[in-house]
């Protein structure tokens, strides 16, 4: 084979592989809708200016997310644009939040489009709309990087669905949701009982500002949320390093100082 023929063959091979990869990557980027949601959301007062009161949230996770993906929710003649609101723990979130509307409790059709490609999915309806109460006296115990959240349960008798609950930690500046965790027990019929959960290490950073919220969910048999309340700790939390962390930092400074001190005479020589 002459070298020019070889070169042409090599170019063809490279082109074929590139086309194959392009096809493969476009197949990988198929538009996918997951976790369509539609729930009544009782949001308590909060220190970061989020809407409060008897709300409704409709949306889904759509991948690939971001421009040029656009997503709408349709119920009857009502069409809502869903806003891309990415969060660390939900990077593909498209959602709309509005005042609870008893005439819009049916299933929503979620429609996504991206570069001519389309995808659809349906939310569950809110078959039994109920206002889930907030938890009582939500508070932070501790000032360090692993504080404990405590609260007392409200009366939860008579609500439809399986009760679940979990905490969420939100960056108070960016409103990014950075952490979520769940508890396994929701006492029904034990109003006033205290519950608590401790934030694990590695989540909070010193000097940052955080909002904490406790969510109380009543979920449908398919795992989707039907009614929810979210209660916020009234104050923004700024963790301070614990004594052990201060000691470690002091030790580090001393070590650096010692090294500098030892190296000083060498400079003079």
């Amino acid at each position: 084979m002459r070298s020019s023929e070889f070169s042409r063959s090599a170019q063809k091979a490279v082109l074929t592989v590139a086309l194959g990869l392009a096809t493969f990557s476009s197949a990988q980027a198929a538009l996918v809708i997951t976790n369509p949601f539609n729930f009544r959301d009782n949001t308590g007062p909060n220190p970061i200016g989020l809407p409060t009161g008897d709300l409704q949230q409709v949306g889904a996770f759509v991948s690939p997310s971001g421009s040029p993906t656009s997503v709408t929710a349709t119920q009857g003649s009502k069409v809502i644009n869903l806003i891309f609101t990415p969060k660390t723990i939900f990077p593909d979130d498209y959602e709309a939040v509005f005042s609870f509307d008893p005439s819009l409790t049916g299933a929503w059709m979620i429609s996504a489009t991206r570069n001519g490609e389309t995808a659809t999915a349906f939310t569950a309806p809110i078959t039994t709309p109920q206002i889930v109460p907030l938890v009582n006296n939500l508070r932070i115990v501790g000032t360090g990087l692993t504080p404990t959240l405590e609260w007392e349960w409200p009366d939860l008798a008579g609500f439809s669905g399986t009760p679940l609950n979990g905490i969420r930690i939100i960056d108070a500046v960016t409103h990014d949701q950075i952490f979520t965790d769940w508890l396994s027990s929701v006492p029904v019929g034990n109003a006033g009982e205290t519950a608590s959960i401790t934030v694990p290490s590695g989540v909070l950073l010193p000097g940052h500002a955080y909002a904490f919220r406790e969510g109380l969910y009543f979920v449908n048999p398919d795992g989707s949320t039907m009614n929810r309340s979210v209660t916020f700790v009234p104050e923004i939390f700024r963790p301070v390093p614990e004594p052990a962390t201060w000691s470690l930092m002091l030790l580090g400074i001393l070590c650096v100082g010692a090294v500098a001190w030892r190296s000083e005479p060498q400079k003079l020589r």
Partner: protein, 33 residues
Amino acid sequence: MYAAIDNELGWSDGIITGARNIMLERHAVKRVP
């Protein structure tokens, strides 16, 4: 009295990571923002 979800599995404490995961998988919980 605890919800059926807890009686079913006999949990008394909510801080066991494994138990939380079982709960979420068992009920196919779809997390929401």
